[in-house]
Assembly symmetry: C2
C-alpha cells in the first residue's frame, strides 16, 4: 500500500510542505516516485513519520531526529545506538514532565490565592 503526499499529510497531521521539508532535512528517505514524478510513500515511510511526529511533539529538535534517521540508514548495526538515543530522549521527556508538574504547583498555589469565586471577600492577599 502506498500513499500520495496529500494522504500522508492527512494521516500524520503534517502539511505537504512540511513533509517535503522533512525530506530535505534528512529525516526521511526520499520516497519512491510514480511514473510522473509524484512521491509515493510506503507504509514504512508513514511509520517512520509517526515516530518522528512523536519525537517532535516531545521536544526533540530536528537535529536529533536527523541523527536517529541517519542511524536508521546505516542499518541494523546501529540498533543499540538508536535505543540509547531514544532512552536518552525518554529521560529528558520525563524530566520535562516533572518540571511541568512542579511549575504547575506554583500556578495552582496562585489560583488558590485568588480564591474560589466567593462573594464578599476583601482584598486581603494582594497577589
Amino acid at each position: 500500500m502506498e500513499f500520495t503526499i496529500a494522504e500522508v499529510a492527512e494521516q500524520t497531521g503534517l502539511t505537504a510542505h512540511t513533509l517535503r521539508y522533512y525530506e530535505r532535512a534528512g529525516l526521511l528517505d526520499p520516497p519512491e516516485r510514480d511514473w510522473n514524478g509524484h512521491r509515493r510513500y510506503s507504509e514504512q515511510d508513514v511509520g517512520m513519520l509517526r515516530l518522528l511526529t512523536r519525537l517532535r511533539a516531545t521536544g526533540m529538535p530536528i537535529a536529533g531526529m536527523r541523527r536517529y534517521a541517519d542511524l536508521c540508514r546505516v542499518g541494523p548495526a546501529t540498533f543499540d545506538e538508536r535505543r540509547e538515543l531514544l532512552e536518552e530522549h525518554r529521560r529528558q521527556v520525563l524530566e520535562r514532565i516533572a518540571g511541568l508538574q512542579s511549575d504547575l504547583a506554583l500556578i495552582e498555589y496562585k489560583i488558590s490565592v485568588y480564591g474560589a469565586p466567593v462573594a464578599g471577600v476583601p482584598d486581603l492577599a494582594r497577589p
Copy 2:
C-alpha cells in the same frame, strides 16, 4: 529589600537583557530607579518574575503573560479574570502532560523493539 538587575538575573535565571525585554514587553511594571538611573527591583517584582518564569516554562506565550500582567495593573477587580486565565492555562498544561505521556508510549514501545542489549540477537524485527 531591593535588588539590582544583576541580582534579579541571578535569582530568576533570566539574563539582564531578558529582564529589560520583559519590561519593554509589558510583562513587568518598570521598577523604581535609584539616584543614578539604575533599576531597583522590589520583592514584589521578583515574585511576579518568579510566576512569569513558571508560566513561560509551562509554555505560556509572551502575549498571554502580558494579558495577565495587564490584569494585575488594573487592580483587585480582576481577581476572577486572573484566576480564570491561570485555570485555563492549567488545563492546557495538564493536556500537554497527558500528550507527552501518550507520545512517550510510542517511544517506549520503540525502545522495547530495539530490545535490551542482549548478545546474539538477530535482526528479526527491523523497526
